[in-house]
Amino acid sequence: MVAKMDYNRLIAFGCSFTYGQYLPDDTFFLKPDAKSKKGLVKSIQKKPSKYAWPNILGEKLNIPVVINESHCGQSNKAILHDILNYKFDKNDIVFILWSNYDRHDVFTAKDHQWNINLYMSNVRSKVYFKYMHNKFNTTLENYFYFNLAHSYLKEKNIKHEFLLYHDRFLADFKWNKIKFLDVFFSRVNAPLPKAYDDLHPGVEAHKQFGNLIYQKYKNSEYYTGDIK
């Protein structure tokens, strides 16, 4: 049990699932009657949604400041890059919902990167996924990112908790030091209404996920089950 919540800031890192993409305050309707029709809505991406899980969790933990540092489409390499370059305070608590394995980023400068994604049609993405991608290598690299983020935050004495969207991203490397909280957003999201693009988690899914993270964190419940 966590006895006392005395953190000043909750810092969240992640991708669109942390940003709250296509939630009501991140959606522009291209046609007035276009609600829930894919392709007829646009993500605004000016700021993370107030309905996204970090805000729900911040309220439950009674933390006065929630800073949502997520970006839509971000890979885990980019999330690590953001963490390593972030100015943390000693009373921060960090929650990271790591992203999918179907994406990668190549940095060209501290503030610029080439996005590589399985579903993008640009040459760089095509080349990467045809010649440089396999499940083992991708999983290995992602576990490098998780473990470096963990050791880095641990060395700085920054409290941090790691989350995964789906349990299929789990792997069993003997050198891995990461424990993930025992809640996966995909399981929460599956039976619930989606956001306006019909793909991303909806308002209720974010709410339930935030509440579940709180319970699992409070009870220190980490995933110990099967790894596929």
Binding site: V106, F107, T108, A109, N137, F173, W175
Partner: protein, 209 residues
């Protein structure tokens, strides 16, 4: 210390030194053997020709260390990479001019900023992994050009000696490129002096050589 355990590429293997024309095991003339002689301990040289820093990290993470091991890692060139698939590893290197994978990698993926980020990622993860097991470890960089002191998140210190600087002062190995036998011997002596006598780590200015 009970054992000296080393990791690296051809520059740790002793590529093209006199004793091993088939290159099927590390050379007895390579710097790890000389350093082990100075330290009076047995050596386990886990280097491999042509590998990159990602594979060096992979080997370190999967190695069963003993608590009294001292680990010396001579990190490799930053412009190399590899793709790992279960038990096979595809190497990517700038000298592989006819290799399709290497050509595509340098055309579409590689750039200096990203390469520095990834290599420091591997090196820092190795450092944390060894530190968390309380394994004594000393990191070496082949060239000063690989050092980036501007990365605020970097936790690694390198010993203040670069093999590239030693290499140019002595005759090369048989291929005319790799460090020769005298370079390896001298490099080991300087490592011993810099670490065990002076605790001299690189902070932007070279001392000695």
């Amino acid at each position: 210390m009970d054992r000296l355990v080393t990791f690296g590429c051809s520059n740790t293997f002793g590529h093209h030194l006199e004793d091993n024309p088939r290159q099927d095991s590390p050379s007895k003339y390579a710097w790890p053997n000389h350093l082990a002689d100075l330290l009076k301990v047995p050596v386990l040289n886990n280097s491999k020709i042509g590998i990159d820093n990602k594979e060096i990290l992979f080997r370190i993470l999967n190695y069963d260390f003993d608590e009294n091991d001292a680990v010396f890692v001579l990190w490799s060139y930053h412009d190399r990479h590899c793709i790992i698939k279960n038990n096979t590893i595809r190497h990517i290197g700038p000298w592989r001019k006819k290799d399709k994978l290497s050509k595509l990698y340098y055309k579409y993926i590689w750039n200096e900023y990203d390469s520095t980020f990834e290599n420091y990622l591997y090196i820092n993860l190795a450092h944390y992994h060894l530190q968390e097991q309380n394994i004594e470890h000393i990191f070496l960089s082949y060239s000063q050009n690989h050092i980036d002191l501007s990365l605020e998140w970097n936790s690694v210190k390198f010993l203040n000696i670069f093999f590239d600087d030693v290499r140019t002062k002595f005759p090369p190995a048989k291929d005319g490129l790799h460090p020769g036998m005298e370079s390896h011997k001298e490099f080991a002596k300087i490592i011993y002096d810099k670490y065990y006598k002076k605790n001299d780590f690189y902070n932007g200015s070279k001392n000695g050589l």
